[in-house]
């Protein structure tokens, strides 16, 4: 089962880690650590591939952001601290979104690239760098209301153009 999940999600997971960390060796380390965590803590044999894939992507994002922040603060964070910072979400009864097909991924990447710069910037800084609205407001010297507006409008555009 683990190999099926790996083959399904390794590419987006590794791409996500590189996008956040910008260093292939760190990205590889994070993806490997997440799969180790999955093996140790999740019931891999009974879960469905889409759920485990979503879990992998979520953990990669969280751990990569923890690593990125630690690197920025020039503090040492080992895999144990990263692991302690994230938890494997339990399967829920809510409707599960399947992982995107390669064509849908490409469409979403293109839609993200075509967003208005002020919308793309805030969405990417939040999602790939883990900034909050207050941190964004400080960094971009923008009112929080503007940030909220840009994020929501950008996400609605993506929902309409890429996932609609």
């Amino acid at each position: 089962m683990l190999s099926i999940v790996y083959d399904r999600v390794a590419e987006p997971a590794y791409s996500l880690a590189i996008r956040i960390l910008e260093r292939p060796e760190s990205a590889e380390e994070i993806v490997a650590a997440v799969f180790e965590q999955l093996k140790d803590e999740a019931d891999v044999s009974n879960a469905d591939v889409d759920h485990l894939g979503a879990v992998v992507l979520s953990l990669v994002r969280q751990r990569a952001i923890v690593r990125r922040n630690a690197d920025a603060a020039t503090s040492k964070v080992g895999t144990k601290q990263e692991r302690a910072a994230v938890e494997i979400p339990k399967p829920t009864s809510e409707r599960r979104e399947p992982l995107l097909s390669p064509a849908a991924r490409l469409r979403l990447q293109q839609s993200l690239a075509k967003l208005a710069p002020e919308e793309r910037t805030v969405i990417e800084l939040i999602f790939f760098e883990g900034l909050t609205q207050h941190e964004l407001s400080d960094r971009l010297t923008l009112p929080i209301d503007t940030i909220r507006l840009n994020v929501e409008h950008g996400l609605r555009t993506l929902a309409g153009t890429a996932l609609g």
Partner: protein, 271 residues
């Protein structure tokens, strides 16, 4: 007209969906989500986009070594050369036959030993599942406790506010025996207390309104317990000001944009 207290949270659904709120803002917004159908609908619409974003990074191929490191060589998807040796026509010397029989006996013993371990590991997994269930139940209890604590803190905040005013609520023809009080703070919201409130009909909810010109504003919902009591906190928009009156009406589940159902309680302020 917007949903109860929605305006002060306008635009936060997108930030919430992609993780742009800090812990305090997130807790506040989750509390708001319990009563705002507009924000619930927006979050529901935007969450799939947020999930999709984790797959929207520019594509990079992971190195082959990563697959080997994670799933090992045994499940390498590349076709491998068949390493089996055909046995037909192979004859073993007597000494090798003895060795082969001994190997078979050793393999059988190892098989039995492995079966014991499989049984033991199943027992451990069952025990672990039970532990996980207990932890989930404890987590659920903790979440419930946090919600109760949050509500109590919000009520205490209102009641202790220096500008709190008390408004008497009178039962109306739809609930003639009901009565109550509203504790209203211009800065910290309002708390409603009432008794002898009729039980809720299925599919309906008690909605609280601030009567201000030109139209009443929905400020939240009031929960009634089995004994006909209400003890609820509402969170009016920061710009709502002091209303002319506070009203409680019976509305369809999910709330109404304007008061349309039976009026149960009404209290006029001194404004």
């Amino acid at each position: 007209m917007t949903e109860p207290s929605h305006r002060s949270h306008d635009g936060m659904a997108g930030l919430y969906a992609i993780g742009g709120l800090n812990r305090i803002d997130r807790d506040r917004f989750e509390q708001h989500l319990e009563t705002c159908v507009v924000c619930v609908a927006t979050v529901t619409q935007l969450l799939p986009v947020a999930r999709g974003l984790s797959q929207a990074a520019p594509t990079q191929q992971p190195p082959a070594s990563l697959r080997l490191r994670i799933v090992g060589a045994d499940s390498d998807p590349r076709p491998r050369r068949d390493a089996r040796i055909p046995l037909s026509g192979v004859r073993l010397a007597p000494v090798y036959r003895v060795v082969a029989v001994m190997c078979l006996i050793a393999a059988a013993a190892l098989g039995w030993y492995a079966a014991q371990h499989v049984t033991r590991s199943r027992q451990l997994r069952d025990s672990l599942d039970a532990s996980v269930l207990r932890i989930q139940a404890a987590d659920h209890d903790a979440v419930t406790s946090r919600q109760v604590a949050r509500e109590l803190r919000a009520r205490a905040d209102v009641l202790a506010a220096p500008d709190v005013a008390t408004i008497s609520l009178q039962g109306q023809p739809a609930a003639p025996n009901a009565s109550g009080r509203a504790f209203l703070s211009g800065t910290r919201g309002a708390v409603l207390v009432a008794s002898n409130v009729p039980p809720l009909p299925p599919g309906q909810i008690y909605q609280v309104w601030f009567v201000v010109p030109p139209d009443p504003i929905a400020v939240g919902f009031a929960r009634v317990d089995g004994a006909g009591r209400i003890f609820s906190t509402v969170d009016p928009p920061s710009d709502a000001g002091i209303p002319l009156a506070i009203a409680v009406t019976l509305e369809p589940e999910g709330g109404a944009a304007d008061p349309s159902g039976d009026l149960l309680l009404l209290g006029r302020t001194d404004r």
